[in-house]
Amino acid sequence: MKTEILHNFTSRSRAATADEAQRGKFRSAMDFLIAKRAAQFPDPTEWAELRESGQQIRQRALAYLPKLLVQFEQKAQQNGMTVHWAETPLEANQIIHGILQRQQVRTLIKGKSMVSEEIELNQYLQAHSIQALESDMGEFIVQMADEKPSHIIMPAIHKSKQEIAALFAAEIDDTPYTEDVDELIQIGRQALRQQFFNADAGLSGVNFAIAETGTLCLVENEGNGRLSTSCPRVHIAITGIEKMLENLADLPTLLTLLTRSATGQPITTYVNLISGPRRADEQDGPEEVHIVLLDNGRSQAYADVQLRQTLQCIRCGACMNHCPVYTRIGGHAYGTTYPGPIGSIISPHLLGLAETRDLPSASTLCGACGDVCPVKIPIPELLLRLRVENVTRAGTKDHPAVMRGQGAKYRLSEKLAWQAWSLLNTTPALSLASRRSAAGLRHLIPSVKAWTQARVMPKIAPQSLHELIKAHQEQKS
């Protein structure tokens, strides 16, 4: 599975850019999301102030992260929740499986959780004879199609309504073909009703975890999050360790940044604040609430001052919505749970830089992502940093080891080529000579084949600017 990620990015992105229909779908979907977000931030001053606050809240919480995790654990336990810690996806899966086994759960109903995708929970549970059913409409659709989500907020963004209509008609009993979106949603609602009713356990993600009160905050529009966490007798929540917020008072700023950036809404239909299982006198709500805190490489990003900024992310998806690369290749081409710009900076920590070595360079550094990040993650700067780590082996003089897979793209031949290039560009006599030969061209455009895929080879001018200006100045004097 892991080597597949690496070797497939080039061929996947090639296939994706050749798929005209998919390109059209992503273009219109991204245009829609871009416009919705823009309408929510009409005032540049308000935007600047809000994101400055957002950045400060996230950086402050990260600065105190170990303390907050302990505080959260204490509070959550006081509230009656059980807190679990997992370093790896396998550990997280084992913990969740253990809870379900103890409760003799056969079917787990899921609200939306990207972290559960990250650990490949559904596959693990299936291998252990437990069915994990997706209830978020987008996730429900991709699960039915046996695919992975292609966007962190809108999982089925790559599917047209015709494809969904055909899917429902084929996979759901007694369902006629209809392209009417209202009807399709009602079909989904009906199909999942019984599942919510029957489910013994529900799993959710977490948008924010609040240390001060031991509270989990979940946002959603559909209601499946509330249903998954209120109907079954067991609720399991899973989150990355970086989602900790210090205080309840930190929530409003991040909430408004999240919903406006992600779907262009002032607020989602539902904002759930869960602080424990049902109290003794309550008539519904889960009897047990578990929270799994997952590391999976986040502590690696945490250890480096610059890279730690990656963990500020509130998973809004605005970066990928504005990314010209994501718009052309879609989410699946990245081969990672989190695609787009955030995917390219977080996946190296979760999966290793060796497995994701093509991602840091899959960007023109245009900066559209950094412009819209609600918590001011300097994404292009982090991509550049990862490019340095990609070609610098751990143990290189004056260069510390910071991440697994460092130096994965190191090639002696490439290093020597750049050294030659730097020699050329620091020695005027050599530069002059190379300008007169194709050597200069080769340094600027190292792969003729790649360049000429879409362009003609540029012609070197008969006289360089150096020569023309020299002649011009001699003429004047």
Binding site: P324, L365, A368, R455, A461, Q463, S464, L465, L468
Partner: protein
């Protein structure tokens, strides 16, 4: 007239090799305004290709060579937004915490992008001799985001009063060059430049103007390749803004 002023000109490697006429146009515009233009022959490349590929040591070596080539304190006018951004914003980052940091900072302070110099320092008057023409403007991502020069291109074109500026679809989107990105990820780059050129062809202009030759290399290269297709009969040209200005304002030195 600013006959007491002198500047140093950084041509950029792309202009040097492929678009020297853009450099000459810029030079002549400046000289016509009475500016004395120095062009240190030892200059080569700002170092961006190595920098964006992760080769910081090599980028630093080249950066120091450029700094050494430009002694003095005069402004350094740069013919491309992305190279200007490299030298103004990324050089200090490259040398952060190193002994050369202060020298580098002093150098970076002198950097000014060409269109910014024409407008902010010279407040240049342009007498447009025509003919009337529709053009599109492509602003490089760096110019847009790091140098804040989107408005400069528009303002200069506005001062050429027989130019009609057309907007093109998804105008703020990257053209797909990204330096080595164009050859490392050729399929994605090709898709981006295809969309950019399609938008340009459809906007009602007959040429695209840019203040960044890296983008021009990419866009004009694609436009020319597409001319092989029967549906692209009319040639769609690309031109550096300096050349456009020089051509339309008489194209003659005093």
């Amino acid at each position: 007239m600013h006959s007491n002023s002198s500047i140093s000109l950084f041509g950029t490697c792309v202009v040097d090799l492929f678009f020297p006429q853009a450099g000459m146009s810029a030079l002549k515009i400046l000289e016509r305004e009475g500016i004395q233009v120095n062009y240190p022959q030892a200059q080569s490349c700002c170092g961006q290709p190595a920098y964006t590929s992760g080769y910081s040591d090599e980028a630093r070596r080249v950066a120091l060579a450029q700094i050494a080539a430009f002694p003095g304190e005069d402004p350094i006018v740069v013919l491309s937004g992305s190279c200007a951004g490299m030298m103004k914003h990324h050089y200090p980052t490259l040398f952060h915490g190193m002994p050369e940091e202060e020298i580098v900072r002093q150098f970076s302070k002198r950097i000014i992008e060409f269109t910014a110099y024409l407008l902010e320092v010279l407040n240049i008057e342009l007498h447009d001799l025509g003919p009337a023409e529709s053009v599109a403007l492509h602003t490089s991502c760096t110019a847009r985001r790091e140098m804040g020069t989107l408005q400069n291109g528009r303002e200069l074109l506005r001062r050429l009063d027989k130019i009609d500026l057309k907007t093109h679809d998804h105008e703020s989107e990257c053209c797909g060059f990204g330096g080595t990105f164009s050859v490392r990820h050729p399929d994605i780059s090709a898709a981006m430049v295809q969309d950019k050129t399609a938008a340009l062809r459809q906007c009602g202009a007959s040429k695209v103007i840019s203040a960044d030759c890296g983008c021009l290399l990419n866009i004009t290269g694609a436009l020319q390749k597409q001319q092989a297709h029967p549906e692209n009969k009319t040639a769609f040209a690309g031109l550096h803004i300096a050349e456009l200005i020089w051509q339309r304002t008489g194209g003659k030195s005093q």
